[in-house]
Amino acid sequence: MVSPFETDLKWETLLKYGTRQFVKAKTAIYKQEALGEGFYYLHKGLVKIVTSTFKGKDRLVNIVVPGQIMGLQTMDQQPHFTTAIAVKNAVIYHFSCTQFLETLKVRPELLPLLTQTINQKMRILLTAISMKALTSEEQIARLLLNICEDFKNHEVPLTQQELADCAGLTRITVYKILKAWKERGIIEIKNRTFVVKRPDMLKPPQLTANTTHPV
């Protein structure tokens, strides 16, 4: 017998427990400080997760792509620590936390899926923390690589301003770095989006080996 705990359960199979909702572009799905009573599955569209620091500065934490979960932090019935805003029109499924915890008690095989999902969120937050120790160039490189991995695509759907917000850098710094990379053929810029041509060049040893003008 196959152990029920080594299941390849994915969130799609659980959508029947959720409520389908439509969200217009530029609308908030949930807001920081608000008490949450549920979490969401992104079915279609694109959502950005922003957090406001203690000083009141907004910082982009990550971009949610279809198939991912957001707002899971309110599972403990505490307020949200991020704000989720739809970048494009989106279709989402809302899950009630209390209801999900009840389901979890009856179906313990859901725990691995939940654990793995929280693990991904933790990885995102840890990346944001360890970013602080990197140079501006390393930060942008890490961000681009993360985005490429998430989207399974080398086209980055972010503006330079969004990239700057994400790293907590100025738009000018981002512009300078991207310009240098464009000259080296690492990326290609076409109407407001850019494509990563040489992801290998953005990884640590190559990136620092080729940096002639540290930013």
Binding site: S52, T53, G56, R59, Q73, D76, F81, K105
Partner: protein, 209 residues
Amino acid sequence: MADLRFQWTPYLIHGKKIETVKHTTIYRQGDVGTGFYYLDKGSVKITLLSENGHERSIDYIPLGGLFGEHGAYKGSYLTSAITTAASVIYFFSDEVLSRICQDHPQAAVIFTNSQIYKLRLLAEIISFTDSPIEQQMANFLLKLAVVHEDNHIPIDQTSFARYIDTSRITVNKILQKWRQQGLIELSERSAIRVVDLKGLRGIVKTNVT
């Protein structure tokens, strides 16, 4: 966190008891997980290594707390855990965790809440990254007081500095200033006694726009 501590105690009989000396690495960042841990005695710090080799502490596990939950269900460890004193910990493999949750549905909820708490902790570190060091220190000290449920906080200045990601000298200067202001007492080695909680809260709240 206070209400999460010791909640896992009823399930300890299913775990594997491990006794370790100081400076033992319990799990290492990047290793593929085999399960998670419970701290029964001693102390454990959690560190994060960034790509360029910079290391900082991000958490100190309180007694009765879980750690390394990210290593459950074959997840890879996202941080490293190192004992800072001789410790007694309990290890739970995936199989044991699943069995506990099947027999005691409430355990799955405790486990999940512990993980969510860790997410909140990280989000808090992020929200303070652009704040002045003094504010970050006050916030951290208040948090430790809550976690330990005591105003006597067993932490040395080097560990404190590694958590805030600053130098020990900066930490020392601010602690000395607070001592003179009567906010804290530094009578014992490697410990800080919070005297004026309200005063520290005032420091955390300054600069809020």
